[in-house]
Subunit: 112 residues, 2 copies
């Protein structure tokens, strides 16, 4: 009998579950702002995005993992597995629907 | 010899000292979002603004004072004394100059 490998999925808040305070908290950190800025050029369609290691950060791998998780749990980024690598992208559409203009204002301010 | 009463002034960051991370951290709290929303209708000219006690909050006076101070130290609000009362107002002009669109996006999201 063939075995199937379950696709590993990470928990994400649904669009309506994304809370403003959590998003602002997630963004209120220089490392996480760097991550968000680094993901800005990537789309959010199927499989597009950057792996964690593609985002250069001056922290250890476990600290990096922590920061990506905070962003995911707040609803700022989507993380999905491709093999063993996590692909990350901004949840632009969801964030724009929930908090119009917020992500763009933060990205603009962070890159100023 | 007449005595002069020094005007008590509270420390505020200058416009160029306002940091994005500090502003986002200050806003990433439901009580502080309530304060910012409550101050939204007030102007920022001489003496305009609301006293701390005019902003109704479900916390003790000392906790309220703490939250106002976090907002002031981050550069989100201006606090000045009128007699013994602190008058609070949003630093709209400074925030808009530093981080265009950010305060408006947060205010809109907080009141949605």
């Amino acid at each position: 009998m063939p075995t199937t490998t379950p696709v590993r999925q990470l928990p994400h808040p649904g669009r309506e579950e994304i809370r403003l305070e959590a998003v602002l908290h997630a963004l209120a950190d220089p490392i996480r702002l760097r991550i968000v800025t680094a993901l800005d050029p990537y789309g959010e369609g199927d499989g597009s995005g950057a792996t964690c290691s593609q985002v250069e950060l001056p922290v250890t791998a476990s600290t990096s993992t922590h920061h990506f998780r905070v962003l995911r749990e707040a609803g700022v980024i989507n993380q999905c597995y491709r093999g063993t690598a996590k692909i990350n992208c901004l949840r632009r559409t969801d964030l724009e629907a929930r908090f119009p203009g917020l992500l763009d204002a933060v990205l603009k301010a962070a890159s100023a």
